[in-house]
């Protein structure tokens, strides 16, 4: 009983924080986009519980909110792995071996492109251009840019992640 109450409190708190976050953007230009970006940044994904709150705040339907979320690649609808590796899949990186690098990374990490591994440790995602096109293959590793990424770099990265406590 006591435990259940705590959960409810925590949920109410999160919803309160969510509402406060959303309220900041209600009158801003393109407010819904800004609110979604803020939620995505704050929680790592946009929880389904945010949909009715966004709909009420912006006076639109839940379907419209969902339509906006599903349109943009950045908006996640479920939590991602502890580590996120984004590998560029666009032409300039293809020209310097990104297809082979991607296959190598997915195999080594034992995860499909665009998926999070079952243990929740690693997500590998495609990204279409990081603007590092003269220095490919390019990647974003937990938000940090990396250029001229080699298979050895991927191996070192994955090894470091696997050996974390």
């Amino acid at each position: 009983m006591r435990e259940g109450l705590e959960v409810t409190d925590a949920k109410a708190q999160t919803i309160g924080a969510m509402d406060a976050l959303i309220a900041k953007y209600v009158d801003a230009q393109g407010g819904l986009m800004r609110a979604l970006i803020a939620l995505n940044d704050a929680y790592g994904y946009i929880d389904a519980s945010a949909l009715p709150r966004l709909a009420t705040a912006f006076n639109i339907t839940k379907a419209e909110v969902k339509g906006v979320i599903s349109f943009y690649d950045d908006f996640a609808r479920a939590p991602k792995g502890e580590h996120v590796l984004r590998l560029c899949q666009a032409e300039a990186c293809q020209a310097v071996g990104s297809r082979e690098l991607t296959a190598h990374a997915c195999k080594k990490a034992d995860v499909e492109m665009g998926e999070t591994r079952a243990d929740g440790r690693i997500t590998i995602e495609p990204v279409y251009c990081l603007g590092l096109c003269a220095n490919g293959p390019a990647a974003m590793v937990d938000g940090k840019l990396r250029a001229r990424v080699s298979e050895a770099d991927i191996d070192a990265l994955l090894q470091a992640w696997e050996h974390e406590a």
Partner: protein, 508 residues
């Protein structure tokens, strides 16, 4: 104090510039300046040291090189295996015609004083003393055409917005630089952000718009950080706000971040996104110049178009027009990318040939193998074989070979590249990025990828290629915007110039 320049540019940072900067900043007597990139990207991180003879360059410098560089007398411009001599004398840089990128890599991007000391704000000061009609006329005279890819005459757009009556008008900068092989917008926003701010204020003055937005893609975290900081400082310094430079003329500017959708680089889709919606393409008319953001007259321009404006106002439209050839006036920042030995940014007047860029500046492929193709103008651009590389880079000449200059990106491929795989990718990318509004693009891209997979598998190759030809005609003529309308360009150019790659699975 010895001034040492280490770029804050994304490329430099992605290759360890922050670590090099931290190590050098800890040394007594060293003042580290985080500059923009010079655009010699194969040499990043490029470290420059200020000496009495001029700036001496070293690159590419890693954290591990710092000790040996210091031992060799780095701070006096001493010789070392990584020493490249005086920066200004490096061939790649010396042979350029830099107007828009003149300051990029030279100055401290966030220092407004430095910006002014290198000619910044002189265009704006002139514009502030002019009538809006005269500002728009100056842009008209320059012959500037939209640098985002569509190459529409900028002056006509300015006059249309200026002539539209409305209580509120907007200037919107398209910084959703999603084309693979392009990074000019990113580089200038990181390396000379006040230039874009100045260009946007002038655009506001020339069109009667008091409010601007920069729509920046989320994949550019460094540009976001640098430009945000520049905006803040511009307000503090009175460059933006209720009274621009104390003249009583107002201009407000806000940064807006996208969320990972290539299609938002299409101007009407961008406007919908900026209104907080799905980034779906709008049918034209109405033109954004008359009914754009929030239904109000809106001048939408690419970063590089707006960054050309301060030069046009400072030096005059006629000065700008003197560069280039025919109806392609001014300069273009070309970007060498992909499998290229010397990748980077080359600002030249229109008319330089593709071969001069690929072989002269670029030095061929990074792998050292033969060049197979260059894709010019992003994912919707043509694959061009070496035989056509003597074509001058200008809008008209490129149109004649069934290609486009686009945003100036050039992606190089060596002879191991498979053009059938690239053609299939063009359809796959279109399927992934289509906004879904019109049928030729939404369905055509998926069907195109399926049919191309059959071609690659050797399944009725000739019949399926004929089908692709037919499909491409429908997509070209029937799509609402360039996404579906131009996806056939990479596909058909690959088939036309590299037929063997498509026939190799043919079992007949």
């Amino acid at each position: 104090m010895t001034r040492v320049f280490i770029p804050l540019d994304s490329v430099a940072v992605a290759l360890g510039a922050d670590e090099v900067a931290a190590k050098l900043a800890a040394i007594e007597g060293v003042e580290v300046v985080r500059n923009g990139s010079r655009g010699l990207l194969w040499l990043e991180p490029l470290v420059e040291v200020e000496t009495p003879k001029g700036r001496v360059a070293y690159g590419p410098v890693s954290e591990a090189d710092v000790d040996s560089l210091l031992a060799a007398g780095l701070l006096d411009g001493g010789d070392h295996a990584l020493c490249l001599g005086l920066t200004e004398e490096i061939e790649f840089l010396k042979n350029q015609e830099r107007l828009t990128f003149a300051r990029c890599g030279v100055t401290d991007p966030l220092c407004l004083k430095d910006y002014k000391a290198h000619g910044g704000l002189s265009g704006l000061r002139k514009a502030l003393a002019m009538e809006p009609q005269d500002i728009a006329e100056e842009v008209m005279t320059s012959g500037l055409r939209g640098r985002g890819g569509a190459a529409f005459p900028a002056g006509i757009k300015w006059k249309t917005v200026l002539g539209a009556e409305a209580a509120q008008k907007y200037v919107v900068c398209n910084a959703d630089e999603g084309d693979s092989g392009t990074f000019a917008d990113r580089m200038i926003m990181e390396g000379d952000p006040y230039l874009l701010i100045e260009g946007m204020i002038i655009a506001g003055l020339g069109t009667g718009a008091s409010k601007g937005f920069v729509y920046l893609r989320s994949e550019y975290p460094v540009a976001k950080a640098v430009f945000s900081e520049a905006l803040e400082r511009a307000y503090v310094e009175g460059l933006l706000g209720e009274s621009v430079l104390g003249t009583g003329k107002a201009f407000d500017l806000e940064l807006f971040i996208g969320a990972g959708a290539y299609i938002c680089g299409e101007e009407t889709s961008l406007l919908d996104s900026l209104e907080g919606k799905r980034g779906q393409v709008r049918a034209k008319p109405p033109l954004p110049a008359l009914e754009g953001l929030n239904g109000k007259p809106t001048l939408v321009h690419n970063v590089i178009s707006l960054c050309a404006v301060p030069t046009i106002l400072a030096e005059g439209g006629a000065f700008y027009k003197d560069y280039g050839m025919g109806r392609s006036t001014g300069t273009m920042p070309f970007q060498l990318a992909g499998n290229v030995r010397r990748g980077g940014l080359v600002e030249k007047a229109f008319g330089v040939t593709l071969r001069e860029l690929v072989e002269g500046f670029g030095g061929g492929t990074r792998t050292g193998r033969a060049v197979k193709a260059a894709q010019v103008g992003g994912p919707l651009g043509a694959y061009i074989p070496p035989a056509l590389m003597d074509t001058p880079m200008d809008y008209e000449s490129f149109l004649k070979i069934g290609a486009g200059v686009g945003h100036g990106g050039i992606v190089l491929y060596d002879d191991t590249a498979d053009m059938a795989a690239q053609a299939k990718y063009a359809f796959d990318f279109c399927a992934h990025e289509s906004c879904g509004k019109c049928t030729p693009c939404r369905i055509g891209a998926v069907r195109g990828a399926e049919v191309m997979a059959k071609v690659i598998a050797g399944n009725d190759v000739h019949g399926n290629l004929a089908l692709i030809d037919d499909l491409c005609e429908v997509m070209t003529d029937g799509s609402l915007c360039a996404m579906g309308g131009m996806t056939p360009i990479p596909v058909l150019s690959a088939i036309r110039h590299f037929p063997d790659d498509f026939l190799k699975g043919d079992k007949e």
